[in-house]
């Protein structure tokens, strides 16, 4: 079946290029015309066509609250595990973000410097930031930067202004919150050998 048969919008390739990387298309994203792409997918006619088209190549467009992403039909377990591992690292990050004086929520704009400054001034936050395990940056600022870069790569944040290094939280952050909220943490009692630290429901 050819793309023309679906009367697809001309941004189809662009949409695929973003979402096939595992990224989201959020309505409040502005870089690379993300909001336009969102509008394109959000158009009911386009959505049905795109869905039908992508289903052929075993992708399914999932609709979140003001964002879209791909889910793979029959995804192998190994991929799922990788995904889960990715989410695991976000638990501490979300915890840090939610503990800030002004909680970082969808639409928030911030600079890594501000977060680092607040963490520096608040022991609790500093500990939380230092606890985040993936990063090796020496200064708090760099650590926050790396977090922001990671989140930007995963399309939860957007570097809105490179000059001022200002980030914006995208609508896809809801997805992250939902997944992380769905994680139930069980304490390891040590009684069973296969005791799991995390259960995803």
């Amino acid at each position: 079946m050819l793309a023309e048969d679906f009367s697809l919008p001309k941004q189809t390739h662009e949409i695929f290029a973003v979402m096939a990387r595992g990224n989201f298309i959020s309505s409040n994203g502005s870089r690379d015309g993300m909001n336009r792409l969102y509008d394109v997918i959000n158009n009911p006619d386009n959505f049905d066509r795109l869905q039908a088209y992508f289903n052929v190549i075993r992708y399914n467009i999932e609709r979140g609250n003001n964002f879209f992403y791909f889910s793979k039909l029959h995804e192998p377990n190994s991929d799922l595990e990788k995904k889960l591992e990715r989410f695991e690292r976000y638990i501490d990050i979300i915890d840090l973000f939610a503990s800030m004086d002004n909680k970082i929520t969808i639409g928030s704009r911030f600079r890594p410097g501000e977060i680092a400054e607040e963490c520096n001034a608040n022991v609790r936050l500093k500990q939380k930031l230092q606890k985040i395990p993936l990063y090796r940056s020496e200064t708090l600022h760099n650590k926050v930067r790396e977090i922001c870069e990671l989140m930007s790569r995963d399309s939860y944040l957007e570097l809105e202004d490179e000059k001022t290094e200002s980030y914006k939280v995208l609508d896809s952050y809801t997805y992250l919150l939902d997944v992380v909220n769905a994680v139930a943490i069980y304490e390891d009692t040590g009684n069973t050998d296969n005791a799991q630290g995390l259960i995803y429901n």
Binding site: S27, N28, S30, N35, N66, D101, N102, K103, I104, T105, I106, G107, S108, R109, F110, R111, E114, E118, E160, D161, S166, K168, V169
Partner: protein, 1227 residues
Amino acid sequence: MENCRILNRIVEINISNVKYADIELSGNTCFVGTNNFGKTSLQRAILFFYSANSRGLGISPSQKPFEEHYFRYENSYIVYEIATEDKPFFVIVYRHNKLVFRFVDAPYSPDFFFTANDEAMKIKEIISNFEKRGIYISNQIDTFERYRNIIYGTETDKQLSKFHLLKGNEKYQNIPKSITNVFLSSKSSVDSRFIKDFIANSLTTESSSIKLEQVERQLRQFNEKYSDIEMYLRKESQQLIEMIDKKYDQVHMLKGAQMEMADKLGSSLRFAETQNEAIRESAKKKEEELEVLEAEHDAQKEHIESKQNEFREEIGYYDRTIRDANKKLKEYKEKNIEQAVEKNADREKLQVELNIARREYESLTSNVASIELKYSSLIEQLRNDKSAYINKINSRTGEVFNHYNELQLLQKNEYNKRDAELKQKREESLNEVNAEVTAKQIEFNELKSEEKVIRNTRFYEQEIRNLESELAELRAVNYKNKSERAIKQNMVQTLQREWEALELKLKSSLSNRVNQTNNEIIKIRNEIKEIEGKLDVQHDAFYGFLEKNVKNWHQTIGKVVNEKLLFRTDIAPELKQEAADTLYGISLNLEPLEMVSKSIEEYQFDKNERLAQIRDLEESLNQFQTANNEEKMLAADKYGKQLGELKEDVKVLAYSLELAEKREQKLNHEFEDWNNRAGKEVEESLSGNRQRLNLLEEELSILSKKKNLVLSDFTHQLEKLKVYSDERLSELKGKQETEISELEVDKKNHVKEFENKEEELVKEKDSNFKSKGVDAKQLKNVEARMKELQEALKEIEQYSQIIHDYLKDKRETFDKLPDLIQKKEEYMKSNADLHAQLEESTRKYNMKRMELNKQKRALDEELIDYNNGINFYSNNFRDTPVYTKYSDIIERAESKRTNYHIMDLCTQMLKNDSHFSEEYGAFQRFVNEFAGKFRFDNHFNFVIRNDASQGEYERFAQNLRSFINENKIELSVAETATQIGLVTDSIATKVKELSGQKDKIQHIISLIAEDFKKAEFEESKLIEFIKIRLEESDNKVYKLLKRIQEFREENGLVYNEGLFNTDFATGQKREISTRAVKLLDQLRTAIKEQEQEEIRLQDLFELKFNIKEGMNETGWTHKIDSIGSTGTDILVKAIIYITLLHVFIKESSHRSSKDFKVHCIIDEVGQISAHYLRELLRFAKNRNIMMINGLPNKSGLESHYKYTYQFRREEGNNVRIFPSIVTEVEA
């Protein structure tokens, strides 16, 4: 000397590193020198003569500017000598801060500039020299523009006007531009783009281009505004706005409540702190008052009770006396005392009657006294015996009687004694019980009165009254607020209606104006079309025929012919000589007639005039629309602000009503609570009383039972005693009666014996009397009467003692009974009064005591409450963030009594704060999400920083509310709608302006093509032909710009109402607007993709060449660098340049001005072959153009030039320019 005007010579004095150079230029000139020796610099200096623009000489920005590089010294000069038809003149260029010019009306001579020592003079000296010599030297020409005007013959100053090179027309600027362009582009490859640039640059000024940066900026601004509005109008955004508004209200309300509570807490704390001591003092005072009250009451009670006791004693005494009197009276009555007293009253009378009877008896018996005496003594004896016996018996009876009476008396006494004892015991017992009963009754009564007091007491009266008054005040305020809200809502509706009406008016006036203007434009367009139709067909029509064949036809046929006829192509006019100056053979005097026909220029003028009218109409429509928008904005500003304020007021009122309602509910609740508490308090107080009352009642009933029991017991004992006593008495009486009756019987028997004996004696006496003649019968009667009287007296005598006693008692007691009763009653009344007094005083005392107790209890409770509150505040509130948050309010609050407990306030504040945090978090989330939807620099300024304070978040919500209330989105929509109109209009105008020059291009191209045709290439057969043609531009941006212009013309100026999906967006309007937005968006993308800075004239068309050189034909192509060898390319390029230059000079100079020559400066022609060069020079010469070329070295080519100059570097880096001795082969 040539007989035409030409730049004859250039002289450099102290210019750059040339000390002096005098170069002749009146023919083709060639500069030979290796690179960097100053060839180009000299060529630039020549170019400067033509262009007089130091910025347009191709000096790169990294190099020194022309002024600094060339004019290093005070005495640096460039002199340009211009040959004319008669004598030459020259121009001096020197630096006087900036470059200035002076014209000198004389041929150049070095003497003018140098001293005897060959030193260049200063300008002042030079000028004075000229003046001395009487040579005219112009004033200083300060501007390049003026210099150009002089050189190109457009100067109006007569003194200067002669110093011209040629007479240019209004387009003379093209000549220096063309010469410059040839020079500047001589090194580039030959590309049609260059030719385009050349032509375009020659035709346009720098400003006649569409600056894409500016367009992009306009588009970006529009696009950003459009996106902002679109985002704002989205459903999700509207939902978020609602949520923000709602949450803001909640947060605001909670904050207000918290602040109010903080204020109350602060007030309560201050009050508690200040009141602690005072309350303690008051409590102590109350206690003392209570003690005093109790003491007073006890004293009064004691006093009244002692009085009562006295009264009771008196009452007892009177009671006893009255009872005894009554008892005696009863006893006397039982003894028929009244009869006895009555009989006693007859005693005296009976005694008198007895004495009379005795005397009568004595008189009767005086004759028979002895007999009488004998018998009387016998009878008397007998009687005495009898009396003695009777007496004896009587005494015996008396003894018995007395004995038994004594026994009875004893018995009675015993009984009485026992009875009295029992009664006393009974009395005592009863008294005991009664006392107990009385005490209980008193207590009972006290409790009853206390209950009454309690029932009449309003507990928490102050609080309830406060609440009542607060409720009343609140209701009054509510009522006021409600009516105010209704008024304001009415005002809002009225204003909204007014606003809508005004908007409608503005809208309709705009649409009327638009329609009117569009109609007018259509009308004018039709007229233009008509004129254009005429102009198009005029060549082939009657008009064209007349133009070609009839001289001054406007003066003849033009006056009589129908205009329509002039433009008919089907009437086949033919010139017939015989009918000349006649109308079908009839001669007419046409002098007085006006001309009907118009010249082409007049038609052109008409067309231009109409176009100007359209522009004016559009301009005025634009202005009208702007004014309309402004009016709209003013209205929005005026009404929006008012409405916003009113709506805000309504909201505030609604909010305060809501608060008031809540407060009322709360107060009602509190009121109920206080009432319940008061009721409970009453119940609690009463329940204690009731229990005690019940107990007392029970006790009283027990006591009454006990009393009854005691009474019955004693009655029983008394009855028993009485029965026993009665039995004993009756026994004694029986015995007495038996013994007495026995004695009586005995007595009777003996008396009878005595009476019988007496009778016998009487009979004997009577018989004796009879015998002696005495009336025995009368005697007997007297005796009987005497006896009777004696009996009566005896009977009376019997009751004498009792009557005596009775009379005594009567006198002493019975007669005083009423007084006694009255006295008793008086005492009883006084006692009752005292009792009432005591009761009243007890009641009062109880009330007062209760009141004091209550007050004291309240004070104690208050104190406890305050202390507990302060402790709670210190331990559980002071260290929390809530305190920190509201510390200002708490610490600054005035000391004031509130109806709230400190502890409750603290708890409530802590509870509220957690609720507030939740609500505020949600509020913050909504604000972030909403602001995040917009660009950071959105034109609504919906931005919130991450570290924004609460105040900033609240201000955001307030601003958003004002934005909605003032309907600023409408303004923004109107602005954006105007902006899209302006943007498209501006683009359309610019495109139109630029496209307008396309005709000129077409004209130039046709001239060039003609010129190419005229070229005598055939002679050498080197170049067979050079063809040039114009094609449509394939510039994407320009195409889009063009589409926008077409769109603008198609749809007129106003198509903004359907810009957004608002109420008035109709289908068609929406479609047009969507197309406009889409076009602008495409243009913006294209500008971004193309990265072009501006759209110039050259972007409007494509130029293609077709050149055939020998066997090579390029075909229609943009580039002509692949024609053949490099030399061929240079040749073709030079030919094209010369052609261009020729065409432009021809176009830009006055027709009368023909005798002049200009130079074409092309550097680096070294690779051209001699044959070609010759061809080229001839080609130029035929067009009155002299070539100035540069060669890297001598190669024989220089022989084709009239002048050849060589460059040599000397000591001190100076360059010497000297003429090379060559012979011109052909010039």
